[in-house]
Symmetry: C2
Subunit: 529 residues, 2 copies
Amino acid sequence: MSLLNIERVLIDGQWRVSSGTQIFQAVNPGTRLPLPREYPVSSWSEIEQAILAAARVSRELRDAPGELFAKFLDRFADRITERSGDFIATANQETGLPVEPRLKIAELPRTTNQLRQAAAAARDGGWSMPTIDTQNNIRSRLAAIGPVVVFGPNNFPFAFNSAAGGDFAAAVAAGNPVIAKGHSSHPNTTRLFAEEAFEAVREVGLPPAFVQLIYRTSHEDGCRLISHPAIGASGYTGARSTGLVLKEAADRVGKPIYLELSSINPVCVLPGVLAERSAELAGEFTTSCLMGTGQFCTNPGLVLLLAGPQTESFVNAVKAKFDAAPIGTMLSEGVLRNFDSGIQTLVAAGAEVLAGGQTGGGNGFSYRNTLLCVSGDKFLLSPHALQTEAFGNGSLFVIARDEAQMLAVLETLEGNLTGAIYSAQDGQDDALYSRIEPALRARVGRLINDKMPTGVAVSPAMNHGGPFPATGHPGFTAVGIPASIRRFAMLQCYDGVRPNRLPPELQNKNPRPGLWRSIDGQWSKADVG
Amino acid sequence: MSLLNIERVLIDGQWRVSSGTQIFQAVNPGTRLPLPREYPVSSWSEIEQAILAAARVSRELRDAPGELFAKFLDRFADRITERSGDFIATANQETGLPVEPRLKIAELPRTTNQLRQAAAAARDGGWSMPTIDTQNNIRSRLAAIGPVVVFGPNNFPFAFNSAAGGDFAAAVAAGNPVIAKGHSSHPNTTRLFAEEAFEAVREVGLPPAFVQLIYRTSHEDGCRLISHPAIGASGYTGARSTGLVLKEAADRVGKPIYLELSSINPVCVLPGVLAERSAELAGEFTTSCLMGTGQFCTNPGLVLLLAGPQTESFVNAVKAKFDAAPIGTMLSEGVLRNFDSGIQTLVAAGAEVLAGGQTGGGNGFSYRNTLLCVSGDKFLLSPHALQTEAFGNGSLFVIARDEAQMLAVLETLEGNLTGAIYSAQDGQDDALYSRIEPALRARVGRLINDKMPTGVAVSPAMNHGGPFPATGHPGFTAVGIPASIRRFAMLQCYDGVRPNRLPPELQNKNPRPGLWRSIDGQWSKADVG
């Protein structure tokens, strides 16, 4: 094999021939055929070079103003927009996700918007929460944690891309260099991002190794990478099994790792809302569940209903819609296989197949839109197995026999990103809402009323996080600025440090008119004293 | 053995006879004699009862106002003050720490002050950072995480006591019930705190199981306790070895655990300051290092100096002071043994004994004030061993041959709670300060100028935390309000939730005139709209 035709990795400011000895190709999920480009599995020696280069950059940038990172993020967003045609075509080829509306109208603008929001936050600096105690002359703020490794998922080639997505933007806004570990299913999309990021790095005068890219590592090297002494933190979005292996490695050496793992996003549909708008809700649910072929972390994978004739007709309506809806293409053969395995686990645990339940029906990698159903009685016999995430175009309806059982089912749930409750507008469900809400609230990061979980606004109040095993810590969010930025920071206190040695944000004079600081317990934009 | 004379555990609102089958006694470190009271090692069944009771209390209190926790904290502080004589006498007996100034003037008032600060924060609610996005109608805040287990250390019988100290106050202010695991060296002090806490619980009408106390568990049961599904989080202050075992158990199940482990708190003394005030500094250092027989997490355990005649005379001055200073009593035989073992490790790695270096010389458990010295050359040969924490009245001076070596030594340091730099007032050290500060800054939670690390103010800007292995995550602090409270919270987002179902802090009307909320990116005390 000649390594000369293999795509190059971006290490220490150069697009280099990899010293790895293995290669891989991406597959077009719509045709199931391999795509022509070949990508290297990086060797440990080049991974280590990337780590050392990133560590050097971290040191060089320690006093860099937020403005520099803001300029980079804005310029990067501009460049992505200028080259949007390439991005959309490439991602479509690698992921099978539709060009419109998904890639072009939704995900690419969301990605550049996220980068620009991160730029604004980096410029402003309020994310760092400067805190000043004038009486004791103690001052603190959050500051860059050191090189950040980002592992992006398969399902958002843009918005969560390791070289352009939410974790990337947050890590950069905090002032950290990033080592992007591309997802193997869309390496060319990731390469394009790294190209544009690298050009933006040069344009704004950041050190060339500020953004680096490797495509793949062995599992062992992935663990060595995130637990290396020179690494500050990592972000990982993806499958639970791999995430937990990385978490163990990072935890052992006390390196923060922010995980976004599995979630089945329970949706409770209370009886009154079915009386009010059953048909509409069947449509809303079907759209949410099948959108993007169901490949969302916030896909509504479990719907909890109360037994009764209205529920029966709702279930039938959804079944009809699932049967009639077009069948999407899945991201990869692995996703298809895992989805099938998840469905089989649910069926083996007692779920009944109402629609779908087998592969095929669409272009490329596809699986029929799948609706499963199980009684509350059966669910409570195997609550663990029946919470298996089937990542794809399917969902499990759980029919509780009464309100007490609905609550009992909720009380068995693991941590999730979201939990939704639909209730009647006329107040008839309010008592039941109050009864079940505490159990759901404690188990989810985001509690939703009267809508499906699939929309995740990039809002300062968003929580795209939740109790384990949805994530590794229930206090952090992967989406939303400035909160997501704070993950990639350490708390730095200055105790009695002389005024001229303080970072500008902690000096008496507020360096920027818009910067909020907590001064003696009160938020203020004023100077001290 | 009759269990009837054994001290009772506080479980589920009752002082109960333990079902454990092993007992232990505390030892008066000043006399080395066992104290008469006997305490149980709890059985798993009673630990589990405590967990379930705490989980029930968490559910009952989910909508409780911060005012309720504030009342409890204030009332508890009052009761401690009213019974201060008992506390001081008991802690003195169990720890050997002097009544004045330590226990009476410093630590007890600090403890009640901390409880009152936590009360004010609970009342105000600003710690929860209510965040409102009016355009998307998404709102979030930090909220109680669930039952908190607190493991207190040996060295602060009051201020870090598992039933009254910083972690306890922070967990309660966030609205969580606490299971206190007392430290085995001062069980009676902890029992007194639990008694007063329990009375305060009753006075303010909290559920009786809000505060529970167990004295000791097996290591295995300790791990089961903190990783139980019903537990929200844990706080541990103490030895690194035990802390890491607990961390591993908690990490495996994704339960936050906040650790405060070892720290050697490097102090860099730049040449100019020795020219300016060597004698004064020798006194300052000696006081800081020997205070409390050196048993502080922020004890200056490593002093970095540049070789030269001024350093030689400074070292000699400190040696003379160490030889002349009274020798304190250590907290326990275990502390004494570990200190000796730490000193032996340092000596084996090449450190030379300038003063002390052997047991005895004081009352009870004691060890001579110990000053060690090593060259930068030798330090760099065994940087890991020469960072061994010797927890007690000793310190290691590292003499770098030049500025480059001083920097090289700093670059080998592990994470620490604090790092201090003393430099000349006349500016002659400023270039060296700038050269070494980045290396130190990245490795410590609190950077200090011109003073010793042993004072830890309870300030909103304090960071009593730092990179691993000083703690488990560099973004959190164990001291300082409101930041320490946020550790015991989860991020709860409300997306499209109907107005009457929102917690008061997230409703349009600001429920308290003093409550800061972030509304559309601006901190405000106003109502929405």
